[in-house]
Amino acid sequence: MELAEIFYKKSDFIETTSGNKVCRRSIMCGSQNIVLQGKTIVMADCIVRGDLAAVKIGKNCVIGEKCVIRPPFKKFAKGVAFFPMQIGDHVFIEDECVINAATIGSYVHIGKNSVIGRRCIIMDCSYILPNTVIPPETVIPSYTVYGGSPSAFVEDFPETAKELMMDVTQSFYQNFRPIA
């Protein structure tokens, strides 16, 4: 089953040498602190707050429209700081999500309109259903499907999760074509 081709206007997106495609309408605050490893697509109206702390996004990720990726806040003994945030490879984040997580592993699929709470840790190969609210400081184990508000374990994610996510993100990138 092939993904549909999605066309975008060439002038709307910036394409970097490592193949990242970032929409011009997205807000990348503190872009010197934001690392996109390669072949990652950031769609329109996203807000990535690299000014608060470093944000590192892996390769072949897709970040949907209107997402907010924001490093979480932590109170240390000597003061406060925003915690650096890491997103793994082949992560598919659908539209309108709010990501406050500390770490998102690789091969993760986050459904539409989800809220990932502060300092959450999402392990590899998990699936967060759409409209989920994950409370702060939750750890989502690998190979699980979580959903609901507050989120709870729904079912197991099959062991083919890794190949599935690689297939989805790579074919999404190949089908994301520019028209002049």
């Binding site: 907010v68 809220v115 508000s149």
Partner: protein, 191 residues
Amino acid sequence: MCPAINTGYQVTIAPGAYVCEERLQLVGEISIGSKTIIHPGASIIAEAGPIFIGDGNLIEEQCVIANRFPSGIDKDQMNQVVMIIGNNNVFEVGSLCEALKVGDNNILECKAQVGRSVTLTSGCVIGSMCSLTTNETLPENTVIFGSDHQRRTMPDRPAFQTHQLDFLARILPTSHYVLKHGTKSHTPAST
């Protein structure tokens, strides 16, 4: 003669407040108290009357604070209604606040929605993705959470965000265009 809908704005910013200019949408007459921090991408829409925002509030990205007339009402017949937001409130990412009176120390979590006829007193927490459109005054320290919108009362009000506000007050001006304090107005050219 019907007055045209005014899409200009007039915002008064107290010293010590930091309002990020990026993707900020302002409509109408707005007053922002000191030590309030507004992240990029927020919208403050004072269509039906002025909005007064108190001190020490934290308004995060994609927030909408709107003073709008209820739909289906003839706008020319209505008087201006003032919307007052107190001190030390937190409006997390994507929240929507249309309540006319918001007290102090409330927290609207991510994607929470509060309708026009609700009055938030102090210390209330509206959980993520919860939507409150009833006609009521929430008692102090009420928490609304979960997809069932369960309620309980906290023994104490939520903690102040002074640490975060101080941190943001230090780093936001270095990486964003920030509106200077004072009064700034903008009237769009009429066509």
